[in-house]
């Protein structure tokens, strides 16, 4: 059932490195699912919730996103909720791993399990959000690609770190071993290497143990335009081949990407 609904824009304010925008809507999307908003321009834009409540949701956007220029009270036509979000029912130990620019869709999961660990990678110290932004119960691991704060990235690197720096990799392997489910939000081209780490860290991970949010333009959101096709691998249980990120995803089993 694809539906249109009217969302009401409430406000937007800066929360570096993002802007936060608040929408009231009858039927907000689940974590990792989305709505397609008509914000002007030739195509609708996907909005992934960063927080969700009964009356609506917030999104975290780059500073110049058109949603940050709406006037409070403006009505925005949205299509959805669309897509398959994260599947974490009954998980007690949840691992979240994100590159900073794609972190927001993971934020609704921060309190979705009794124990949550969050790994954030940023290019350098300045792009990391302040740790006090996160619930105190979340176990935070910060990573920078230049080693200016936290562990030395990138997440996938197996090289030994130079002197005085500590690679994130051992910590990541530990956390993957600890978790019952791991949700990733990174640029798509990093998923194969991250999947290899999961396979190395766990014997026969269950289906959906590792879930990845695929980032691909989704112009129509309903399976009509074919722009969002994503290649998946077949397994004994599932038929592989091309899937629609908008219908079958955008959250996929990372080990099948």
């Amino acid at each position: 059932m694809v539906k249109q609904q009217d969302a009401v824009f409430r406000q937007a304010y800066p929360a570096p490195p993002y802007w936060v925008a608040r929408f009231d809507v009858a039927n907000p999307p689940a974590p990792g699912a989305f709505v397609l908003a008509d914000l002007g321009g030739p195509l609708r834009q996907a909005l992934f919730p960063a927080t969700i409540d009964a009356d609506g949701f917030t999104v975290m956007l780059p500073p110049h996103h058109p949603a940050t220029r709406l006037l409070p009270g403006a009505t925005v036509n949205v299509l959805g909720p669309l897509g398959q979000g994260f599947r974490i029912d009954g998980v007690t130990r949840l691992l979240l791993v994100a590159e900073i620019a794609s972190l927001p869709p993971l934020l609704p999961l921060l309190e979705a399990a009794p124990a949550v660990a969050l790994v954030i990678e940023a290019p350098t110290r300045a792009q990391l959000p302040p740790p006090d932004r996160f619930p105190p119960a979340v176990e935070l691991t910060l990573v920078t690609r230049d080693g200016s704060a936290g562990h030395l990235g990138p997440l996938e690197s197996q090289d030994p770190a130079p002197a005085n720096l500590e690679r994130v990799m051992p910590r990541l392997v530990e956390l993957i071993a600890w978790a019952e489910c791991a949700c990733f939000a990174c640029p798509n081209d990093r998923y194969p290497a991250l999947a290899a780490i999961v396979r190395a860290a766990r014997v026969q991970p269950a289906p959906d143990f590792a879930q990845a949010l695929v980032q691909v333009p989704m112009p129509c959101g309903v399976g009509a335009c074919e722009v969002c096709r994503t290649q998946t691998r077949a397994t004994a249980q599932t038929q592989g081949g091309e899937k629609h990120a908008c219908i079958d995803g955008p959250v996929f089993d990372m080990l099948l990407l």
């Binding site: 030739p42 195509l43 009509a224 074919e226 290649q231």
Partner: protein
């Protein structure tokens, strides 16, 4: 009824001149929650080929102001699997189905057309040809599509090929022409200077409102000269746009990428035209 294939033995009558364009609306049931299909003249399916095709690798879309360039690679599971999956959906649809067929080679085209003929509620084929098709090749593809099947064949003519192809195809047995397929375009896809030129530029088709004045020029030049019905396509975004197309001689029209943003546009145009027609008749 509007007759889209007056020269064909069975004809291709449709109740409304409004249709979705191939590639914009899926294979049939995608928008059924949102759009009342009964107001449309026909469903034009997403493009399909005899054999399966995968999606284009790399970036597939780039935006430039009010326009965008898209290149999907026309992925589809092939005619046979499409039929397996949608035959029953099509049979139950309240409107007839025109299948958009990617005309790869004459042999494949003939085989695909044969498979489609006799499928319940499939009333016609719209043939998609490559942009730089030669006139002779286009005629061969048209002949192939007509050879073993008995469905009316509409050809969707590439934007830059109208002058060379439209009169030729019409004289050569095309039952109708869709004018036009979107023009080819290129946009920067990446700023990274280390990328190869091919990766830094996205080649594809252009969509957006500026196609509309280009379309009207094609219609003004060609509709009165062609012996077959013309289906207008390109940048149509409102009831007024649709009216202008019909006034300049188009028999029907297709709405393309705009409907991803505004799925109800189809319905608004169809209902607006129907109202206009009723009021003109009752005068």
């Amino acid at each position: 009824m509007i007759e889209l294939a007056p020269r064909h033995k069975f004809g291709l009558p449709i109740a409304s001149p409004v249709m979705p364009a191939a590639g914009a609306f899926g294979y049939g049931d995608t928008y059924h929650d949102l759009v009342d299909l009964r107001v449309l003249g026909a469903l034009v399916t997403n493009p399909m080929s005899l054999t399966p095709r995968e999606a284009a690798r790399g970036r597939r879309i780039a935006i430039h102001g009010e326009h965008f360039v898209a290149h999907t690679g026309l992925p589809n599971p092939g005619v046979r699997r499409v039929l397996q999956q949608y035959r029953q959906t099509w049979e139950r649809l309240p409107i007839p189905v025109i299948v958009h067929l990617i005309a790869t080679t004459p042999a494949e085209t003939a085989q695909a057309a044969e498979r489609l003929s006799g499928v319940p509620n499939v009333v016609g084929i719209e043939l998609g040809v490559v942009d730089n098709v030669t006139p002779q090749r286009a005629l061969n593809l048209l002949d192939a599509a007509r050879a073993d099947g008995d469905l009316p064949v509409i050809v969707r003519v590439p934007f830059t090929g109208v002058d060379a192809l439209a009169p030729l195809l019409a004289d050569h047995g095309a039952d109708a022409l869709t004018l036009t397929a979107p023009p080819r375009a290129v946009l920067p896809a990446s700023d990274a200077p280390e990328d190869s030129e091919a990766r830094r530029y996205l080649r594809g088709r252009l969509y957006g409102p500026a196609l509309f004045p280009l379309l009207l020029n094609v219609l003004a030049r060609w509709c009165s000269k062609l012996p077959v019905p013309v289906i207008a396509c390109g940048g149509i975004a409102s009831l007024q746009d649709a009216t202008a197309c019909l006034e300049l001689g188009a028999t029907a029209l297709q709405v393309d990428a705009l409907l991803w943003r505004d799925p109800l546009i189809l319905q608004r145009i169809a209902e607006g035209l129907a109202k206009f027609e009723t009021s003109t008749i009752s005068e």
